[in-house]
Symmetry: C2
Subunit: 408 residues, 2 copies
């Protein structure tokens, strides 16, 4: 990919993704796949006024070695220096940028029970920091090609060509392949905001999903719930774009109020392993049954991570006929696949999907129906014939999606 | 390079370099150049019994960006998480492995005065930890090819071929290109130990250096000084090899007792910038004059970092006709170039070069003549005609080196 275009993408992440404020600290989490690009992003953050940019590099094969050889006890411990870093972030409200590039099944074969236990043991150590920064700092998830990931998506190409093709599709889907990505994102955010405004004017109480694949499902929305999309704001009003790309309009439904069954329409890469051809059944708002052709045990572990892991945190609406989906590229990566398909998320919900959340504590948001969990995992349920009907507080039925696409 | 040979090299670093003990923690510092090899080393450390292996990845171009954009204040601060990591290392006496691969002049153009100030400001924050672990933990410096470094050494080759050639010369000079590198190192260590034993039997008080290039120099040795080489031991008796490769026999001379001038015979890469064709004059044990065709300001800053930076910490003896030197490869990297040439080091000395140092504190070692400084920088003075004469406590003159090689 041309350096000049990559610089535009780097600038997009610094200016629109994080919207770095003068004097802020930035933490970047990145694999080792595209160091030159990560360095560009760091420079763009400095140009935007960052005081310091720290990069935490990770390397999935090393993570796999660690998972194999370390004891559960050692894996469960949050190290003193990780703790010190979290303390710093929580005090400083530093920007956080996650640059994904990992192999969707690079952790295949790792003992998932051990890893789940380790994550469960780490979570209480992390939670106070996560709670402290929630809605208070700018963050963004974006992606760059890793070779193994590119080969998974484009198996017919040579590694070099697969990586180049991945750059193309990442920049295309991220609206970063044009002359002025920052300007394009401003327009895109305005579009999403208008769609949210319409949905929020309807006073919806339920969403009902139906598809010929077997999906037959109803979820209750929160009394003071709202739909969001695109740009978000920190509690102090600093705008940022948490996902690049992002095509979705989403809300956090009422935790513990969902009935029926949904069938996934794309594979899910969870913790570096693939779950494929699966369904999830809800009863009384909770997952009561999961089935999967591949990765059923992993899926079962996922929904049992904690109480909230078996309840919904998000309902997101994306037309089936999005240009990304029509390209036919399956990314095996949630950041992209979630933007091609209506999806649900198990686990943690979003406080900002409550009207007036600025005045609530995390506990109060939870009491208003926002789910709380250590996980937040999207899975895709969009299909060509998906119908979604909204039912208002007055009992009116309004077609939201028809044949997989917006009905309005 | 063949994976099977790289695995042998990885094992050498874990078993002979660090000699990891069951239950120990290992910290690896590495560039992004050879992640697959670093992962192999981590696995070998686990196989040797490590409880946890942590890799701190670094990326020189990012370091350069940081140096340019961060304020002196931000650069001077040891972050809370770095502090926490040092505290851990000092408590745990963790193994430390440094895997070098950087471009010898990758930091060219960076404001050296700013960087020197930052290092000086950081040092008092680091020193207590460095003092706490000194002689108490196993550590090792080794190298892998970085592309920019390989191109600097083999400018006539393509990047890919230069990297492959670098692997060859690194494994060759590191005695890691054979069937059983661990066995070869055991034999090598025995050889170096025999040479040290002979030198230590002579009761030397001075070393006098002379060469046709202008070097004319005398340094006083410590009353209870000894020569060391190859394998070292922690205070608790755990053997390790701090440098791979290592061909040198060395001692720490008496700080503040050197007279005359030495002419460098190889370029020096210091903090990512090159110093070339230089000389250093000592008077009353201290550097009183430096001259350099390239990098004179940087050299002057280096010897002024602190009081000890202008005094000697090491005298090392290596024959001019070593196979590495005869290969004609100039590495622009001290780890290699120091093993092809007699050299001196400005700055920090080695406590273990005092007989009975186990019974002394760091302060007592200093009082016995071991230099103390935040820097330790080797520079090469070996030449084809170098003569070194040892003068014993009784005034006898013994030829140690003649025409650049061992005289005995």
């Amino acid at each position: 990919m041309r350096t000049s275009q990559l610089k535009k993408y780097a600038k997009l992440l610094a200016r629109m993704g994080l919207n770095v404020k003068k004097g802020q600290t930035v933490f970047i989490q990145a694999g080792l796949d595209q160091p030159a690009f990560v360095t560009m992003v760091a420079e763009e953050c400095y140009k935007a006024g960052a005081k310091a940019v720290y990069v935490d590099w990770s390397h999935q094969p090393l993570g796999k070695i660690n998972a194999v050889y370390r004891s559960l006890e050692t894996l469960s411990d949050l190290s003193p220096w990780e703790k010190a870093k979290w303390e710093y972030k929580a005090k400083d409200f530093s920007c956080r940028l996650f640059i994904e590039s990992e192999d969707p099944d690079g952790m295949a074969g790792v003992d998932q029970e051990k890893m789940s236990k380790a994550r469960r043991a780490q979570y209480p150590q992390l939670k106070p920091y996560r709670d402290a920064i929630e809605n208070r700092h700018q963050w963004c998830i974006a992606a760059v090609p890793g070779e193994a990931w590119a080969k998974k998506v484009f198996p017919e190409l040579s590694p070099k060509k697969a990586v180049e093709k991945m750059w193309e599709v990442i920049l295309y889907t991220s609206r970063a392949d044009g002359k002025n990505p920052v300007k394009e994102w401003k327009e895109h955010n305005a579009d999403l905001a208008a769609r949210c405004a319409y949905l929020n004017s309807l006073g919806l109480k339920y969403l009902e999903y139906k598809s010929g694949n077997g999906t037959d499902f109803r979820v209750e929305l929160n009394e003071d719930g709202i739909f969001c999309g695109g740009e978000e704001k920190t509690l102090k009003g600093r705008a940022f774009n948490p996902n690049i790309p992002s095509e979705e309009v989403f809300t956090s439904p009422k935790a513990g109020a969902a009935e029926g069954i949904v069938y996934a329409t794309k594979p899910l890469s969870y913790q570096g392993q693939l779950i494929e051809n699966f369904s999830v059944r809800f009863s009384g708002g909770k997952v009561t049954e999961v089935k999967a052709e591949t990765g059923e045990d992993l899926l079962r572990q996922m929904v049992s991570m904690d109480e909230g892991a078996g309840m919904l945190g998000e309902c997101a609406l994306i037309p089936y006929d999005s240009p990304i989906n029509n390209s036919g590229v399956l990314f095996y990566n949630t950041l992209f696949d979630e933007n091609t398909s209506c999806h649900l998320a198990l686990g943690h919900g979003f406080n900002e999907c409550l009207r007036g959340y600025e005045n609530y504590t995390n506990e109060e948001c939870k009491a208003h129906g926002i789910n709380d969990s250590m996980i937040h995992v999207d899975f895709m349920i969009g299909s060509a014939d998906l119908s979604i009907v909204g039912i208002t507080k007055n009992g009116d039925r309004i077609q939201i999606f028809k044949d997989g696409n917006w009905a309005f």
